[in-house]
Amino acid sequence: MPDLALEGLVHVYREGGVRAVDGVDLHIGAGERVAIIGQNGSGKSTLVRHLNGLLRPTTGRVLVDGVDAAGRTVAQLARSVGLVFQDPDRQIFAGSVRTEVEFGPRNLGLRGDELRSSVEWALAAVGLESDAKTNPYDLGASRRKLLALASVLAMRTAVLVLDEPTTGQDELGVQRVRSVIDDAHGQGRTVIAISHDMRFVAEGFERVVVMHSGRVVLEGAPERVFRRDAWDQLASTFLEPPLPAVIGDRMGLESTPTDAMLIRALSRELG
């Protein structure tokens, strides 16, 4: 399982000259669950697109398992890093759900039973097993998004990168995304997700990275990033702590960024 490192990463978009990532150093160990949060346009999506080589650094380096990604093609990197876009329509192209999900593992050389079982497993993971023959465009937007997730899952990459996986999902959809992440984590895989959903972030990730104007301005466990003394900094990046953290603070409790932490602390301290 690879670890990932960004060293002095800068990305300036050639058209428009926007400095989207402005000097990021970040190490992500194998098997970590890392959430990236930040204001719209803070560079989150640009950052993660370097992990599988879709974007290349203007300056700085991306290391996958200690090896500079600059020397590897997108196809090579895709064997270890699977990236699911925010907008599924940038990704979906096939005429049926099954063909769509088969595309990735097929390109990795899977055939026969191995291919079939990867596809079945990925479809089941997102709850699309009974839609294998459906045309992707007959699915609603939220299921198209789950399809995009399945087609990356089917490649069983060591690293999963999810760009806003819960947007547009109903409660069941959010639960599916969470269980996909937890299962991947259980298998020792690395999961990196961009999200604006602070509840999802606080509940599902051990580490939170806060970006602002192309830089990492704060990082740590949810209890650290959403602790009272970080709120001003969060506010300056246009973010706010999840509700349980606010409630816990008003009740004089230690940092309680999740429902479970808040309820536990309330029952312990106040009965």
Partner: protein, 277 residues
């Protein structure tokens, strides 16, 4: 005012209807939230109320859509569009594709309304400020982040100064601050007399902006009423809709044996904090 009377709609080539016998009245100055699990018919409702279905999309519609009491049957899309504005789920679909800067993009709608230049500029400026996108005005709309595109798309809708506005998950890709700007803008627009229909998964947002909430399931209206009571209705959870955060925390506290008074005190203190902020 927007009215649906017993509306059913089936997409072209579909075997079953996506909306079944839906009736609703959306009064001037009112914000109606629509909730429901995925594929319950929420986006279809947006398309029908805006007139795009069946005019542009084909399909079969029965029942009536009335705009300010006038039957919309037989009205052409360009005519409908001047009465009802719609914001799509995917901001990429919304953008004009012809504007080369964000400023032009926001001005694109009002420029096509045939109003005076001064008014176009005034509306463009105020929409840009309302959504805090001044820093983006010279950027290419196609080269923004997803969330930035969503803010620009909504600014473009505000610049139309619509009397009826339909929004399909307008804050899906927005950060918390952007979400708040959009909810403030919705409230201001409604206070000015616009009627607004908003589809959202973020129930906490709906609790803050809606007068009424309606739940759809398999194309039918299953719950409808005053926002607070519908959102607190336990039946909503069975329809695949998340509980508002206070409802969820009360339930979890009860399950854990935390005294009801404790969680009420905690919630009210947090509410005070939010009001102070």
């Amino acid at each position: 005012m927007l009215t649906l009377e017993g509306v059913s709609y089936r997409y072209a080539g579909a075997t079953r209807a996506s909306l079944r016998d839906v009736s609703l009245t959306l009064r001037d100055g009112e914000v109606l939230g629509v909730v429901g699990r995925s594929e319950a018919g929420k986006s279809t409702l947006c398309l029908v109320v805006s007139g795009l279905a069946p005019r542009t999309l084909g399909g079969t519609l029965s029942g009536r859509l009335l705009i300010d009491g006038r039957d919309a049957a037989g009205r052409a899309m360009h005519d409908m569009a001047s009465d009802v504005a719609i914001g799509f789920q995917n901001p990429g679909t919304q953008l004009s594709g012809v504007a080369t800067t964000v400023y032009e993009e926001v001005a694109f709608g009002p420029m096509n309304l045939g109003i005076g230049r001064d008014q176009v500029l005034r509306r463009t400026e105020s929409s840009i400020d309302a959504l805090a996108i001044r820093v983006l005005v010279d950027r290419d709309p196609d080269r923004l982040s997803g969330g930035q595109q969503q803010l620009v798309a909504i600014a473009g809708l505000l610049a139309l100064a619509p009397r009826h506005l339909i929004l399909d998950e307008p804050t899906a890709q927005l950060d918390p601050a952007g979400t708040r700007l959009v909810s403030d803008a919705i409230r201001r627009l409604a206070a000015g007399g616009a009627s607004i229909l908003i589809v959202e998964q973020k129930v906490d947002l709906l609790a803050g902006v809606c007068d009424r909430v309606m739940a759809l399931d398999e194309g039918r209206v299953t719950l409808e009423g005053q926002a607070e009571s519908v959102l607190a209705n336990p039946a909503l959870h069975a329809l695949g809709v998340a509980e508002p955060s206070p409802t969820r925390l009360r339930r979890l506290a009860t399950e854990a044996g935390v005294a009801a008074r404790t969680i009420e005190v905690a919630l009210s203190r947090a509410a005070t904090e939010a009001a102070d902020a």
